[in-house]
């Protein structure tokens, strides 16, 4: 399969450094304290935040900071082949852990001791980059819930196929067997909080691919800021300001 054609076009017609179409919406789940839908191309993810609220399991209560919990689940119809996934399988647990650790780093947990913040992420459609979409959706949902954060965390994936760094891999490119790098950054501080890669890359190429992924993260952060600003304007309008 020709992942990058001689003219420099990928399988879905994008350029190597072009991201997929992003779309985000806030306040989708009315019952939750904060929620958001995030779409990156065909990957669609819903995140809902419940909290800060009383800790359900007293033994896990922390006296000086909030407890952050996260669960990642995939819908049965999210992938091309319908797969009945058991809840709590290894991949879901690992991604739940990754999202929790990433978001915990940016939430100001010391402001809410003895409380609990639950982040639930549900994948509706999976077409590569689900980890990144989940983190972006979780950031928006936390902002919608009004939970104090140090910074916005945004995430994007990148790869290297046919000697070209590619930004924002979809499922087909991800399954090609090349390296798959996921990066999560604190947008304004420009610091990396999440970095995961599989397969192998020479060091100088790794630096290039990582720069590409970070550019993608910055572009997502720009979009997220616009969405939050629109939302705030809407809230002001409703309050009659």
């Amino acid at each position: 399969m020709e992942y990058v054609s001689p003219e420099g076009l990928r399988l879905d017609g994008r350029r190597p450094l072009e991201m997929r179409q992003i779309n985000a919406e806030i306040g989708v789940v009315v019952k939750a304290d904060g929620s958001a839908v995030f779409e990156m191309g065909n990957t669609k993810v819903i995140a809902a935040v419940y909290g800060p609220r009383e800790v359900q399991n007293r033994s896990q209560q922390l006296s000086d900071q909030a407890l952050v919990r996260c669960e990642y689940s995939m819908a049965n119809f999210s992938t091309g082949d319908r797969l009945r996934r058991p809840k709590g399988d290894r991949r879901s647990s690992e991604i739940s852990l990754v999202i929790r650790q990433t978001m915990e780093a940016c939430i100001l947990t010391h402001l809410m001791p003895r409380s609990q913040i639950d982040i639930y992420v549900q994948v509706l459609q999976a077409d590569g980059g689900t980890r990144s979409a989940c983190i972006n959706a979780a950031t928006l949902a936390l902002a919608d819930a009004g939970i104090p954060m140090r910074d916005l965390i945004t995430s994007c994936s990148a790869g290297y196929l046919v000697n070209t760094p590619l930004l924002d891999l979809n499922y087909v490119e991800d399954s090609a067997g090349g390296p798959d790098l996921t990066v999560g950054i604190l947008a304004k501080m420009d610091k990396v909080t999440l970095l995961q890669m599989d397969a192998k890359l020479p060091m100088h190429i790794f630096e290039k691919v990582m720069q590409v992924a970070m550019e993608g993260c910055r572009a997502v952060a720009q979009y997220i800021r616009e969405v939050l600003l629109e939302n705030t304007k809407e809230l002001e309008y409703r309050r009659g300001l």
């Binding site: 009315v30 049965n76 119809f77 319908r82 549900q122 459609q125």
Partner: protein, 286 residues
């Protein structure tokens, strides 16, 4: 659901006076919003919103073997998943009980008895090669947000998803012997629409105090003594009945609830059909 005594009395008193918390009368439905084709990689899908209740249903068709006692029919199975985004208590295995209850109730209402009689979908239309190959329909429901009346919302979503479903046209090569696997050619762009006109919809009547309400919110459901869910098709035939809740009901009350539900269902079917039609028109023009 944490409700104070004052709130509980307010809900019960309102229902007794035919004025519910959101201003509806006892037998009024919330406004229903339907979108079809929300999951592009499924054969059919729909999303239904009733107030804050938000559910998605998707239909996937896969090749399978007919069961040994029904050679000329395909198979249908329904699975419901309650996402933790709807409520924190659905985290981990917490939603399993409700998911199973909803799946079984939907299968009972929509798929008919063990012999296949009374099914909403014509299973013989799913046959490809008698005794060897058929279509297996997997209907998956996902509850994204729950504000009561999940069974009705899922019933409408499944009906909309089935009417949106396209089964690929299959050409079976003739002349294969009885032992061999038949060779088939699945078309990529020709689809037959599934006939969903006989699919029933579900009406749930929730008894609070001495009156019953339709389309209960989650606060009203917490005050219920029992509930009766009935599935009715376009012809007005009752296709399935489930009574939930601990309190006993006088048989005459159940008969009354059944007739009330039948009456409501005709109106609901008309609303749902027009909404599905509008949703499909929006999808094809988009």
């Amino acid at each position: 659901m944490g409700l104070s005594l004052g709130e509980k009395n307010y809900i019960k008193g309102g229902i007794a006076d035919d004025l519910r918390c959101d201003g509806r009368r006892r037998l009024d439905y919330r406004s229903i919003a339907i979108d079809t084709g929300v999951i592009p990689q499924a054969n059919g899908s729909a999303r239904v919103r009733m107030g804050s209740t938000d559910v998605i249903a998707s239909v996937k068709a896969e090749l399978g073997k007919p069961s040994s006692y029904r050679h000329d029919c395909g198979k249908v199975s329904i699975f419901v998943d309650c996402s933790p985004t709807a409520a924190p208590m659905f985290e981990g295995r917490g939603g399993d009980e409700l998911s199973t209850e909803l799946s079984v109730a939907l299968e009972r209402c929509l798929l008919g008895g063990k012999s296949g009689s009374g099914a909403g979908i014509d299973l013989s239309s799913l046959k490809i090669v008698e005794g060897k190959m058929c279509w297996d329909l997997y209907i998956d429901g996902l509850v994204i947000s729950s504000d009561g009346n999940l069974l009705d919302a899922l019933g409408i979503a499944i009906k909309a998803a089935l009417s949106n479903t396209g089964i690929p046209k299959v050409e079976a090569m003739p002349g294969t012997s009885a032992e061999e696997e038949p060779e088939i050619d699945i078309s990529d762009d020709e689809f037959t629409r599934l006939d969903s006109s006989k699919v029933p919809i579900i009406v749930t009547l929730t008894k609070v105090g001495r009156h019953y309400v339709v389309d209960a919110t989650i606060e009203e459901e917490s005050q219920m003594s029992s509930a009766v869910s009935m599935s009715v098709n376009r012809q007005g035939d009752v296709c399935g009945l489930t009574k939930r809740g601990g309190a006993g009901l006088d048989p005459s009350i159940i008969i009354d609830m059944v007739s009330v539900a039948k009456h409501l269902s005709q109106q609901l079917i008309a609303t749902v059909d027009s909404e599905i039609y509008a949703a499909e028109a929006r999808e094809s023009s988009a």
